[in-house]
């Protein structure tokens, strides 16, 4: 509204428009205080709140907080001349890059219009010939163990009965096949790390520290923590490796396969500096590769170095992005001794990534997961490692479908952030998150009350777990184990023969 004449032309093609209902607006200025992008301001001349839509990033914080429902954030109606090839996003990218000369950054998962295979897969249910199970009346088992399983069990006879002699490797026991994905302290703030740690502990699942280390004050939640070792090796030391119930080597991330990370110096506060073991205010650069891993053999060395450091007490897993040869890579990882492989699909989120990478590199998790599970089975090594699917798990039905496609468990990152208010505005890289999530600014970070966030995350997993039980019961299954890799419980609608072959799923009706 104000200073519009001085706005550069490119910025006038903005994405959102603020609509204010003047009859309802009471000028309470809640929107002014909540917007970290300066969209709403108090106009001393007009004696009312005004807005500048060109600054709006579409996070909806003002709309959510407005006490009189006076605000509506909508896509700006103005359209470029219709062009199926030069869609508006490409035109705006060029205007922006012509002005800045820089790489286009973005956040969260890819919004591109590629097939979501979950939507094309349907679940089975029991009718007549096998009974369905009511999970409210009968026991239903969601407990899952993440870790390497022996090929066979050997017992020996003792005077007191049979005794198991096979040594079973370390496992992570989870009460529901859902874990909080790696989101580093730094990319999201400490309040949410406290919340994830508390929620995981209460639920009996795991959360993942991400690559930002683990603050000593959170060691008490270690039994429900996976500590991550990434290419930057931030915050990695002996106590850290022994603080968690699992260790994860991060090779890749679904949102940015082949790309490292860069946490700008402004985000390296005293606490982040202490936790990451990097100087205050210095940039924290995660290299694209691990500089000591250039082969499966190198990976094997790191896996066993970490197992030695943690005295073989906890599983050591490897996380990779879903890329073209994911099945062969996963096979190598399992053969290198990983206790689990986490595969992050191309719709997985990020705190910051070049938009071109996020939207064009990698493959969907459904295809990657099915390919990995099949490859490991064909090679007879599926039991040697658990498989965790990540990147674009939106609801409990997606979890059930992922497990039927062969996953042992799933990671959720975006869904966990949505539970605490995220609206997927994808500006995580600015550090100005109005929802107090992807920011370390103390005045914004405190918008996440750890007590409330932990409750919301706990509620989400509980709700999904109930729904998973319902779906399992409907299929006549009383244990999540019976669903794992059980692709006969899935049917495809509208998928080609090639897609169905990769997914290992029959067409509906067949």
């Amino acid at each position: 509204m104000i200073h519009l004449a001085f706005t550069p032309i490119g910025k006038k093609y903005h994405d959102f428009q603020v609509v204010r209902d003047k009859d309802a607006c009471i000028n309470c200025q809640v929107c002014v205080r909540q917007c970290s992008y300066g969209v709403h301001t108090w106009d001393e001349n007009r004696k009312c709140v005004v807005h500048d839509s060109s600054k709006c990033i579409g996070c909806h914080r003002c709309e959510a907080m407005c006490p009189t429902d006076a605000l509506l954030i909508q896509e700006k109606a103005s359209d470029f001349k219709a062009n199926a090839c030069w869609r508006p996003e490409f035109i705006k990218y060029i205007y922006k890059q012509a002005e800045t000369g820089g790489v286009l950054l973005t956040g969260m998962g890819s919004p591109v219009n590629l097939p979501v295979y979950w939507d094309r897969l349907l679940l089975d249910a029991s009718q007549v010939t096998n009974p369905s199970i009511d999970p409210l009346r009968e026991p239903m088992e969601l407990t899952t163990f993440i870790g390497s399983k022996p090929d066979a069990l050997r017992f020996e006879k003792t005077p007191t009965g049979e005794k198991l002699v096979t040594k079973i490797g370390p496992q992570m026991r989870i009460n529901s096949p859902i874990m909080f994905s790696a989101m580093s302290f730094g990319s999201i703030n400490f309040n949410l790390h406290i919340a994830m740690a508390r929620a995981a502990t209460e639920l009996g699942i795991f959360y993942n520290t991400g690559e930002g280390g683990l603050h000593p004050s959170l060691y008490k939640y270690g039994a429900n923590t996976i500590v991550q070792v990434a290419s930057g090796r931030f915050g990695v030391h002996r106590d850290y490796l022994n603080a968690g119930g699992g260790i994860e080597i991060k090779i890749g991330q679904g949102a940015k396969p082949g790309i490292g990370g860069h946490l700008p110096g402004e985000k390296i506060t005293a606490k982040v500096s202490e936790t990451r073991m990097v100087p205050l205010g210095s940039d924290a650069i995660s290299p694209a590769p691990h500089h000591d891993i250039y082969s499966i053999e190198d990976l094997l060395q790191l896996i066993f170095a970490l197992k030695e450091a943690s005295e073989y007490r906890v599983p050591v897993g490897v996380k990779i992005a879903a890329v073209h040869n994911v099945a062969a890579i996963a096979s190598g990882i399992v053969r290198a001794g990983a206790d689990y492989v986490a595969i992050d699909g191309m719709r997985g989120g990020t705190g910051a990534a070049p938009g071109m990478i996020r939207d064009n590199v990698g493959i969907p998790i459904e295809l990657a997961l099915a390919a990995v599970d099949q490859r490991l089975r064909d090679e007879g090594i599926r039991g040697h490692a658990s498989v965790i699917a990540a990147g674009g798990i939106r609801c409990s039905a997606d979890v059930v479908k992922a497990i039927a496609l062969g996953a042992d468990a799933v990671y959720i990152g975006t869904a966990a952030l949505l539970a605490v208010g995220c609206t997927l505005c994808a500006r995580c890289y600015t550090g100005k998150c109005p929802w107090g999530i992807a920011t370390n600014d103390p005045s914004l970070a405190k918008r996440q009350n750890p007590d409330k966030a932990a409750k919301q995350m706990t509620n989400l997993i509980r709700a999904w777990s109930h729904e998973i039980e319902e779906m399992l019961g409907g299929m006549g299954l009383n244990s999540i184990e019976s669903l794992r890799g059980n692709r006969d419980k899935l049917r495809a609608v509208g998928l080609s023969q090639t897609e169905r072959d990769i997914l290992g799923v029959k067409h509906a009706g067949a």
Binding site: C28, Q29, R33, T68, K452
Partner: protein, 150 residues
Amino acid sequence: MKKVYPNKEVCIGCHLCEVACLTAHSKSRDVVIAYKEEKDAQGLSPCKTVIHDGPACVALSCRHCEEPACVAACISGALTKNRESGRTEYDEEKCVGCWSCLMACPFGSIRRHPIKEKIVKCDLCAGRDIPACVEVCPNWALVYEDRGEK
């Protein structure tokens, strides 16, 4: 007794507690009418004040002290401590607008009425189960609980 306790660690300074307080104490009980008509015409104002200091902020209102300094200072008997409910009560009829209580309150939780020679002070939302400010707080920064204080 149950009191409203603010938590400055998670107060986000949105001032929604003030909006809710003002509405709860309006005649219309309608947020738009309360703001657009009653606020200017009748000087309706919230008994809650959000104080900011850099990133720190906190919502302050009457603490309903065990030994209220305002009651001791009140020259007209308008402010009294109800020993049964624990509340520090205010009778507008008796108030003479001397502002002694404003001077005495160690928390700055009493404000002058913008029009009348009276004061504005938290009554813990008489008639409501949970004070409006606590109910509206989007970040659980205000809690209404008994911490053993009288």
